[in-house]
Every structure is written in structure tokens, then in C-alpha cells.
């Protein structure tokens, strides 16, 4: 290697020795709280015994389920075919409180591909008219609304 290139090499690495740690630490500190990795947690695979309600669409069927004693509630998402937005997130919204998009909505889970997904719903009593949105996190747009 010639001398000017050697010099440029070391100058570049002095700069990277600062930039890389700053970049890593900065990005690490920027991880949102609460973290979004709940999306990657596998959902429980067993369906709860009682079916409360069901909504059918072309690409998927969405069902509300619960335990017999109402101790647990569940959203069952049956994807019949692959979604056109592979990274789709389900949020529960509350139009009566003015929550119509992901701002303030409760995160339920992620749909990756064709298959059956089960997501626990955090509630004490059955809401007979829950609403959900399917959100494309890459393109930042609502794919669908599911109203029971």
C-alpha cells in the first residue's frame, strides 16, 4: 500500500472508531419503550374452547374466543392466503374513545403468513363489539378494519 492510502486508512478508522460506537449506542438508546419485540413472541397455539363471534373476509377469518368461565379471552386469526403486506400488525382500537388508528391502540400481534394465529386479549369482561385494525408497519397504512 502506498503512503497516502495508508494515511487515509488510519484516518478513516479513527473516524469509524468514534462513529460506530456512537451509532450503536444512539440506536440502542432509541429503542422504543415499551419495546416492540412482543410482536415476535409466539402466540399461544391452542384455541380457547368457546367461540363468541366470527367475521369472515376473503383472505382471513377472525374469531373471538374465551374460556368457559370467562377467565381468558382470545383473538383467533385464520389466514387463508398470504397477505399482500407481509408485515401486518393487529391493533385493537376503540372508536368510542376516538382511537381509530394505531395512536393509542393496543398492540395485539403480528401476522406473517398463511396459518392460524391465536392472540391473548387483555380484558376482564367480554366486550361484545371490539374493533381491530390490520396495519402495514412497513408502508404505514391501515390494511383492513374488523368490527365485531
Amino acid at each position: 500500500m502506498i503512503r497516502p492510502l495508508r494515511k487515509r486508512h488510519i484516518q478513516t478508522w479513527y473516524a469509524l472508531a468514534v462513529l460506530i460506537p456512537v451509532g450503536i449506542i444512539g440506536a440502542w438508546l432509541a429503542v422504543p419503550t415499551p419495546v416492540q419485540d412482543h410482536l415476535l413472541n409466539p402466540a399461544p397455539s391452542q384455541a380457547l374452547p368457546l367461540l363468541i363471534k366470527s367475521v369472515s373476509k376473503d383472505a382471513y377469518t377472525v374469531r373471538l374466543r374465551r374460556m368457559e368461565d370467562s377467565s381468558a379471552f382470545q383473538l383467533e386469526w385464520i389466514c387463508h392466503s398470504a397477505l399482500t403486506s407481509p408485515s401486518a400488525i393487529i391493533y385493537e382500537i376503540d372508536p368510542q374513545k376516538g382511537i381509530n388508528d394505531i395512536e393509542g391502540a393496543a398492540l395485539i400481534g403480528r401476522i406473517n403468513s398463511r396459518g392460524i394465529y391465536h392472540f391473548p386479549l387483555d380484558r376482564n369482561s367480554p366486550d361484545v363489539h371490539p374493533s381491530f385494525i390490520l396495519y402495514d408497519i412497513i408502508h404505514h397504512r391501515i390494511i383492513d378494519r374488523i368490527n365485531f
Binding site: 397477505l83 399482500t84 406473517n112
Partner: protein, 347 residues
């Protein structure tokens, strides 16, 4: 170009190198897929593919970036350098699969052109947590593509080693973009600190190696040679140079290697014409100075490659005063024959 032209000059070493590389990649993929499927059996093929290609490409890039400084610090690593370009092209190919499937999975099923979608689907450049990290990976892939395309000696000769080397230094920018692509991408979701620790360990290793090797080289360049007589500077004692080896000095702008062979001392330009390898770190093989990087050869007396090759480097005058070696750093035109200095004169 003759009819006997071969795109890649395969030899035994290159074949062994590539077999080991191929075997490593296959074993990595099997192990990665096995662990992933054990931990998360619901993972889709596309996701698995995107993940093992990304991690494998990052691992290979870390190895590639470590080879250069490791060789500067310890010549035992030189065999790794010999076929580093195949390692680079392999890494790019794997990264390309990652990029292509990423675009396919996340951008090809919408009503927007996938490449267009890559840039317009997320424009939150002001937010670290929601930064469009995919664009960073895309630009890194473009740099790696340019490097892979120009990795062949055809481009090295046509662009000149200086421009080629400068172009290939953009790999450092690509590395930074990849680090940020990972940190602003998957790390924002997979917050397990193990991933960050692995990334930090890799980059810390590379930075340490480069800074250590670079600082050492800079120190060598900055050694002052005070004694000067009639254009000659005193550089060392004759016993400091081993037989069929050289010592390197930088009394002026560029490094000069003084070789001791067949009872004589010869001085030539230290920079190989092929890829600017350090000739002075090589040794005499079959009477020729042999570059430690890729085996290019030069005759000690005139700095010319033996026929039919045409590479030439500058030669210099060297003389002895007792056991002291004196060097004139003014170069002769490339390929100029110099008599060298006979060691018997010292007695």
C-alpha cells in the same frame, strides 16, 4: 487477450480456500436453520432465508475486514489474504440474496414499484427508532456490488491500483451503513442485548485491529533518518537483514525494501505493481523477490518481473560503510538495473 485467457487463474491454493469457504457457509446455514427451527418452529422460509443470509454476510464481512490488519500485525495470517477477493464476492452474493428477498418480502406485493416502495414507504429520516433502515442496507449493497464487479484483475489493471484501492476503501462506509442498518432495523424489534453485544464485539475487534495496525504502520513511516552523506542515509546494520529477506525503510515519500540475497544487497521500491502489496515483507523465491500478497515476482537487480510478465518497480542505490547500510532514496526509473553492493566488501 489470448484464446488461453482464463477469467480466474485457479490453482491448488485457491481451490482449497474456496472449498473451506463453501464448507463453512454450508455448515453455518445448517446450524443456523437447525437452531432457529428448534427455537421457533413457526418461522417461515422467507424469514429464515433473510436471517441466515444477513448474519452470514455480516460474519463474512467481519472476517474480511479483519484479514488486512491481521496480516499487518502477524504474517502468519497471509494465507487468508491470498484469496480474499473470493471471500468478498461470496459475501456480496449472500448479501444480495438477503437484499433481494427483503425487497421481495416487504415491498413486492404492494401496488408500488418495489424499489420505489423501499424509499417512499418510510420517510421518517428524523426519527432514530423509526428510521428507514432498509435504505441503509440498500446503499451498502450497492457499494458491495461495485466492489464485487471490479474485484477481478481486469479492473485492477484498467483502473490502476491506486484508484482501485481507493474504490475498495468504500467498504468501510458500507460496513458503517450495515452496522446502522442492523441497529436501526432488527435491533429496534429484537431487543435481546445478546445481538447488540455480538455486533459490538465484532466492530470493536475490527476497529482495534485497524487502529493498531494503522498506528504501527504510521510509526514506521515517520522514522527519521538523520545521517545523510551525498544523498545517502544510514538505515541499519547489515546484520539486521536476514538472508533472502528484506528490511523496509521510508526515508522519503515512499517505502524502500533492501534485500539481502546471493551475497549482495539490492534496494527496490516496496510497493508491488499488482495490488500495492509490501514487497519487502516477501522473500526471495527462485531468485525473485516474491510479493507476500499474491506472489507477483521481481528480479532484485532491476525490479523487473521475469518474462513474459512486464511489471516493473523502481530501483535504488545502496552502499556499505563497514557494516553500516546506506541507502539513496532517489529512485531510478522503473526497471533500471543496479549492481547492488557485495557483502564481501565489508571484511
Amino acid at each position: 487477450m489470448s484464446v488461453s485467457y482464463q477469467a480466474v487463474g485457479w490453482n491448488r491454493q485457491k481451490k482449497i480456500y474456496d472449498r473451506i469457504l463453501f464448507g463453512f457457509c454450508v455448515i453455518y446455514i445448517i446450524v443456523f436453520a437447525g437452531i432457529t427451527l428448534t427455537v421457533n418452529s413457526d418461522v417461515t422460509f422467507e424469514t429464515l432465508l433473510i436471517r441466515f443470509t444477513s448474519t452470514l454476510a455480516a460474519l463474512l464481512l467481519t472476517i474480511i475486514l479483519s484479514i488486512g490488519p491481521l496480516c499487518r500485525l502477524n504474517p502468519k495470517f497471509l494465507p487468508l489474504l491470498y484469496n480474499r477477493r473470493h471471500l468478498g464476492v461470496t459475501m456480496f452474493s449472500i448479501a444480495l440474496v438477503h437484499g433481494a428477498f427483503g425487497i421481495l418480502q416487504f415491498h413486492s406485493l404492494g401496488n408500488t414499484d418495489p424499489l420505489n416502495s423501499l424509499f417512499i414507504s418510510n420517510t421518517n429520516y428524523g426519527s432514530l427508532a423509526d428510521f428507514p433502515f432498509q435504505a441503509l442496507g440498500f446503499f451498502a449493497l450497492i457499494i458491495l456490488a461495485l466492489m464485487a464487479i471490479t474485484s477481478h484483475d481486469f479492473w485492477l489493471h484498467n483502473l490502476s491500483p491506486r484508484i482501485w484501492k481507493t474504490l475498495h476503501m468504500f467498504v468501510y462506509l458500507a460496513y458503517f451503513l450495515i452496522i446502522m442498518h442492523v441497529m436501526l432495523g432488527v435491533i429496534q424489534y429484537e431487543t435481546n442485548p445478546v445481538f447488540v453485544l455480538i455486533l459490538m464485539m465484532g466492530s470493536f475487534t475490527i476497529i482495534t485491529l485497524h487502529v493498531a495496525a494503522g498506528t504501527r504502520e504510521l510509526r514506521k513511516d515517520n522514522i527519521k533518518f538523520g545521517l545523510e552523506k551525498q544523498g545517502f542515509v544510514k538505515v541499519c546494520d547489515v546484520e539486521d537483514i536476514r538472508d533472502d529477506r528484506a528490511k523496509i525503510f521510508c526515508p522519503k515519500a515512499e517505502r524502500i525494501a533492501i534485500f539481502k540475497t546471493e551475497g549482495k544487497l539490492f534496494a527496490i521500491h516496496n510497493v508491488c505493481k499488482h495490488q500495492n502489496g509490501p514487497l519487502g515483507e516477501g522473500r526471495i523465491v527462485d531468485g525473485c523477490i516474491t510479493c507476500p500478497w499474491h506472489g507477483y515476482q521481481y528480479l532484485p537487480k532491476n525490479g523487473q518481473s521475469p518474462p513474459p510478465f512486464k511489471e516493473m518497480v523502481s530501483t535504488y542505490d545502496v552502499k556499505l560503510n563497514g557494516t553500516e547500510v546506506w541507502l539513496n532514496p532517489t529512485p531510478y526509473p522503473e526497471g533500471t538495473e543496479r549492481p547492488g553492493v557485495a557483502l564481501q566488501m565489508t571484511s
